[in-house]
């Protein structure tokens, strides 16, 4: 695992694993209906997915490079 892949993982892991205080109350409601904790977690879900996509691509590229 490259250092940048590792540090991004650590960052995203901690962003989700730490029980931040703003996830312990529903307010504010964004757009009048979306509770803030869900907004925060949905953003993390999307970022995690983009990260996995990127990491898988990098990983595959390095394996192909080694094979050549």
């Amino acid at each position: 695992m490259k250092p940048v892949t590792w540090w991004l993982f650590v960052l995203l892991f901690l962003a989700a694993a730490i029980p931040w205080p703003w996830t312990a109350r529903p307010e504010p409601y964004l757009f009048g209906w979306l509770p803030f904790p869900l907004f925060y977690w949905w953003v993390l879900v999307v970022l995690n997915f983009i990260y996995i996509l990127w990491a898988a691509n990098e990983w595959l590229r390095s394996k192909r490079g080694k094979a050549k």
Binding site: G32, V45, I52
Partner: protein, 492 residues
């Protein structure tokens, strides 16, 4: 009109179509070897591997237990997505190593790796027994969930026992006929069916609540605790939230029917794609659809005695009988696909790790294949007997016993893959101590210093696996060179 019976007919038709596909898979693959039967000849493509990974990973829990958890606890259950997404990295990094070693040395099971790396038949037996025990419990739960879904759709026209028997017969034929070839093929279809039907179920539930804004506004008025931690039942305290990220992902990855997919991969592209299947399915099933279904259950159904049934109840109440049957076929798809994979992997571990080594002679390929099919039948019978008297809470048993038990294999497995100094004494001591603590704290019901037994078990296991080798004889050079020498030689 007896709509229950017609609904049952739709499910029966769906299972029959899958059966035809399974038989086709058998004919086209012509399974003649044990490797072909259990691992589809290590040739599953980048198209099929992610789908079979999704089908194996996502069980009836996707339709029943998951929305039930959102119903009880609210949005905090999204922790399942945030914590388990990292299983994708495990598939890529750890799974790739074991794939390389599996191709080189012909590993069929996780026990093969332990036996080879630690030169220990004892460890092979313990690892296989743990894996089999935990998977049989999980398998029985899948039968329970699928049979409940069918008898629910049939609205009393078909009893739980008849539904259970039907699922057992179908799953047995899927697996015994074509082995992994049939399972992978039917899994691919069932994964697509599962993803489409759970989105359809969420759409059905969102219409009467007034879409997303209406749903969340109604939940806020009803019980705002459902929209933040620790949730309506107070489960997701700071400590519990953090704990979800520590041990559980290892247990999910080391679930034998998930792990074994690394050995089935045709190439590295297939491994990378299978890793991507995990977040994709988690987003569709839990981060969105399951969450909407659980919250809609609160708004539309009020208090219900069995939260696991929130989805069937919503469908029966808010859509036509035939659409409910078609959508719930997705639940059956989730259950049957996981059942198939579990039956196969249990039979695999039982025959290859426990039975055959006890025989005094080497079996021919045909004898081994025949024995594997016989054990497949026995596995189905045992798990159906367990499922006939199901435990009270589906979720509790799965999370408490199966995953935390399987996570105990992680320290020895990863130390063996990455650390030359890891030895038999350390891994044996860690595994046995971990299992003893896990079962003791579960049975007695204690949480020392306020932390659950599975955490004590995991970290004691990890500490012994890492510390004991520093004070005992190093592993034999031949075993180390066989694993680490080979990996270094190919640049890993």
């Amino acid at each position: 009109m007896n709509t229950g019976l017609y609904s049952f007919g739709i499910i029966l038709l769906y299972l029959s179509i899958l059966l035809a596909i399974a038989v086709h898979g058998y004919r086209s693959a012509a399974v003649k070897t044990v490797e072909g039967f259990f691992l589809a000849g290590r040739g599953v493509s980048a198209l099929l591997l992610p789908l079979t990974m999704i089908a194996a990973l996502q069980s009836t829990f996707a339709f029943l237990g998951g929305p039930g958890m959102f119903y009880i606890h609210g949005i905090g259950f999204i922790v399942i997505v945030l914590s388990q997404v990292w299983v994708a990295l495990m598939v890529m990094y750890f799974g790739h190593r074991i794939w390389l070693l599996g191709n080189k040395y012909g590993y069929l099971t996780i026990g093969d790796f332990f036996a080879d790396r630690y030169e220990s038949r004892f460890l092979k037996v313990v690892v296989s027994l743990v894996s089999i025990l935990m998977t049989v419990v999980f398998l029985a739960m899948q039968y329970v969930g699928s049979a409940h879904a069918i008898s629910g759709v049939a609205q009393g026209a078909v009893s739980y026992s008849v539904a259970l028997l039907m699922i057992a017969v179908f799953s047995l034929i899927y697996v015994a006929v074509g082995g992994a070839h049939s399972v992978v093929l039917t899994d691919a279809i069932q994964a697509v069916v599962l993803l489409i039907t759970i989105v359809a179920a969420a759409a059905v539930a969102l219409i009467p609540t007034g879409g997303l804004p209406g749903l969340f506004q109604k939940v806020a008025d009803l019980n705002a605790k459902l929209l933040a931690r620790p949730g309506a039942a107070g489960l997701y305290t700071d400590k519990v939230w953090l704990m979800q990220f520590i041990v559980l992902p290892f247990g999910i990855w080391l679930t034998p029917h998930v792990w074994v997919r690394s050995l089935m991969a045709k190439d590295e592209k297939a491994i990378a794609r299978s890793a991507l299947g995990i977040p994709v399915s988690q987003i569709v099933i839990f981060a969105t659809s399951g969450l909407f279904l659980g919250l809609a259950g609160q708004v539309l159904l009020g208090k219900i005695p069995a939260p696991d049934k929130v989805v069937p109840l919503l469908l029966v109440k808010y859509t036509s009988w035939w659409l409910a049957a078609v959508i719930l076929a997705g639940s059956i798809a989730a259950g049957v696909s996981t059942i198939n994979s579990m039956i196969l992997v249990i039979a695999q571990m039982f025959t290859q790790d426990l039975m055959i080594p006890m025989l005094r002679r080497k079996l021919t390929e045909a004898e081994n294949l025949y024995l594997s099919r016989l054990v497949t039948v026995a596995v189905v019978i045992v798990s159906v007997v367990i499922a006939l008297r199901p435990p009270q809470s589906l979720v509790q048993v799965v999370i408490d016993v199966a995953y935390t038990g399987l996570a105990q294999l992680a320290p020895g497995f990863l130390a063996g893959l990455y650390w030359r100094r890891a030895n038999r004494a350390g891994t044996s001591a860690g595994l046995l101590a971990g299992l003893a603590i896990l079962f003791y704290t579960r049975i007695v019901g204690v949480s020392p210093l306020g932390y659950p037994g599975f955490l004590w078990a995991f970290f004691t296991n990890l500490a012994l696996t890492l510390v004991v080798p520093l004070f005992t004889a190093p592993p034999a050079k031949t075993a180390v060179e066989r694993i680490h020498g080979y990996l270094a030689q190919i640049g890993e």
